[in-house]
Symmetry: C2
Amino acid sequence: MGHTYEFARPALAVDVVVFGLDEEDLQVMLIQRDLPPFDGQWALPGGFVRVEETLDDAARRELVEETGLRDIYLEQLYTFGAVERDPRERVVTVAYYALVNLEGHDVRASTDARNAAWFPLSDLPELAFDHQEILEVAYERLRGKVRYQPIGFELLPDRFTLRQLQHLYEVILDRELDKRNFRKKVLAMEIVRETKDIEKDVAHRAARLYRFDKRTYDRLTRQGFNFEI
Amino acid sequence: MGHTYEFARPALAVDVVVFGLDEEDLQVMLIQRDLPPFDGQWALPGGFVRVEETLDDAARRELVEETGLRDIYLEQLYTFGAVERDPRERVVTVAYYALVNLEGHDVRASTDARNAAWFPLSDLPELAFDHQEILEVAYERLRGKVRYQPIGFELLPDRFTLRQLQHLYEVILDRELDKRNFRKKVLAMEIVRETKDIEKDVAHRAARLYRFDKRTYDRLTRQGFNFEI
DNA sequence: TGACTTAGTGTCTATACGACACTATTATAG
DNA sequence: CTATAATAGTGTCGTATAGACACTAAGTCA
């Protein structure tokens, strides 16, 4: 039993570039394939789109199935349609990128993710298909977007220090920022709000914890405010 | 004789939002459908992707077939995958936007474009499918992009006056700009180069014609220059 | 209690942006 | 041929913003 169409159709897939951040690096979630083609090689999580689900739904479903990650920030990136990008047959893939903070979501704890793992962006294995290219486009987009929209907060835990926030920008933009200027700018925007707590278990003076102020962010966004860092 | 697959597949289409500019308005190219669904209604040019062509190729092919426009600036926009966006069956569409100068490309002169026409963005007919939404996303993108990347030159003839260029920005950004500040900024960027000619057949002092300097633009782009207007 | 580590803070200078108005040139109408 | 109308083309100044720059405060740990 199959499905028959008058004209040949490309298969339609989704792939997701999941970025995470630890103390050191920007990381990417990859899964190890256990089927041909590219058996054993690392690849982006993803899979075929079902006829009764939206593209976003397909991306979220595949993420849960393959990595255990759910309820994370997800945005459509670009659609890749080179004719020979899959050796089996014509497959067009809608690529997404996702941001997740490593503290909140433990991949190893998820059920069916034996072969999912984080890799630092600076030291990636060879990837299947054109996933290297997709990843580069995603990183490019993340860099471009973070400069004028504070999406980076998705990479941090709920409460964070300004040092962590600065580190995030430094890792994504790949350059050092001046501490005083950075704090001036971020605090002037009023999109982070001081909490009454400070960080714990650090071997030096503890820093104040801040929280992302989504309410103010939404208001400023409606006013066309420029969040450039 | 048909094509049979194990799982049901969404159909894959491309649609193109073609922007053009005249002395007054930003315009959009639409075609009048002559088949159900939405028979007789206006829609974006587009059609189904063939298995042996890339997405870009499909978009260009449909543009030529339906509007006669060829060799124009084209960029992928977003992929729309709502489940019920086509009443016949599941169709996912990769949307593109294109920029074209109205002087160089006469639509009426093209062969098979009896039912293609320009409409001012401010006075559009009701559109088929979710094309209204696609168009809004495209306009949003154009506005966002033109502010920090000089793609707008595609909307102008080869040689243009600074007045025309300013008009272009005013129409796209939907606000008035100061003539002196605008000229200062554009000339400082050195992405337009003075020609030795001036415009003709105008009932007042003729303005100098300029040309877009792609070479300098490419060099500045590589240096990460910010083209914000 | 001293040494180490990071938190947290302010000033000054250079540059960029935006507000603002007049003269120059050409075509055309009377 | 002269007046009028229309747009071309040009510079200054005040203000806001960005970036360079260095020290004190607080807490941990040996």
